[in-house]
């Protein structure tokens, strides 16, 4: 269920249930993280999903 609305006491900055990534596919077409600008300090947070065909979760 999507719930990215802001409430009185809590502002949602990001919530996976409100975006397409909840429909997890693991298609593997995105960039390998160590092929970006980092070879020693691994991170995936700044990678982007490249699958444009994922349906938005309801």
């Amino acid at each position: 269920m999507s719930m990215s609305i802001n409430m009185k006491h809590i502002s949602t900055i990001s919530s996976p249930n409100s975006n397409k990534n909840a429909c997890d596919t693991g298609c593997g077409e995105c960039q390998a993280s160590c092929q970006s600008a980092c070879k020693t300090s691994c991170t995936v947070g700044n990678q982007k999903c490249e699958n444009q065909n994922i349906q938005i979760c309801e």
Binding site: S14, N17, G28, C34, V44, C49
Partner: protein, 438 residues
Amino acid sequence: MMHKFEKFGKKIVIDTNSSSVYVVDDVVYEILDFYTPGCNKNSSWFCTLAKKYGENEVSEAFDEIQKLEKNSQLFAKDININNIKIESPIKAMCLNVAHDCQLRCKYCFASQGDFGGQRMLMSDKTAKNAIDFLILNSGKRKNLEIDFFGGEPMMNFEVIKKTIEYAKINAKIFDKNFRFTITTNGLGLDDEKIDFLNQEMSNIVMSLDGRKNINDSMRITANGLGCYDIIVNNFKKIVKKRGKKDYYIRGTFTKKNLDFTQDVIALYNLGFKKISLEPAVIDENTDYALNFEDIEKIKHEYDKLASWVINTKKIDPDFVFFHFNINLENSPCLTKKIKGCGCGNDYIAVTPNGDIFPCHQFVGKNEFLMGNVNNNLFSKSIKSKCIKNLQNTLKLCKNCTAKAFCSPCLARSKFTSELGCKISRSRVESALGTLIPE
């Protein structure tokens, strides 16, 4: 797991299992000191907070937390990694076309370019075999990646050209899409090479540490001279001609420049807008190695950098600091987060003689030798070992506050200490601080 912290006057809450991020007010922030899943308003702490903030306020805030909890957006259950299919076809290759380098950088994890072995260049035959190997083992993956790496890959420019030509021909035959990237030290570049790189590489990573004195104290030539003046001019040429294609100026910081914000500023003042600066991975016995006593300084410096980034992005939205660039809107899927870098699974490194290792940081560690592209040998047992190591590392990550945005690094867990993880955790918090609207 819920984690909360304050950054730049904002009270930030992360739900590490669902990757949700919130900004909350004082009432919610304090309730979260006591709130546990399934609790109710009859708790003694509720009465205490009601006296401080007023019963209506605390009750409303409680209801909002409870709503998120019921939607699994706060206090979400831990992810069952056993339900995630980790084994994958190979899609990305770090192609070490040169185990040689003109520089003798003090912190080089590749032992000044030779990875602890012989200085050598890859032949075009081995490079072509590597392309064949990648295509053969890529299954249905369409997007394949080749990162030209070393040592200094541009010492083997002719093989890079032949490799790209060969890969493009085979991409058409096998319906693949190759992306080429390169990491270069900037030496030995001329206009022809720069034009070639700008045309063929989807991303160019250029090694430069920041201030001239910092760069030249670490990134030195074989005869002991700094390289700053040569490479800065070459990198400026690349960026000037590059248009909108990706690039990063990538630096390293050590104990000698814990004030690394000044290095990011120095790089920005040179006209570079896409900057990455990473902690050095080096023998802890060297006098410039980072260690646990540096953590507080690093944490403070990341906050200082984050403040500068917030102000800079107001006047220059194109500026990017790689490690603060957490993608909240279009973030990678759960499977990607679990699989992380794909070391030894969908990502491998190939040495000049064709040997295959799980990643560039494992090169030369012969217990991790996976095979050789020249005879098409590939050890599934090392791949299984990497997947097993990943699963074990994920257990260590289970209660990490940064796990929603970081990923397991097998090289880090195998060869380095908790230090890198502590640095990652502080960096993630500073990064999130830059992403919260004012």
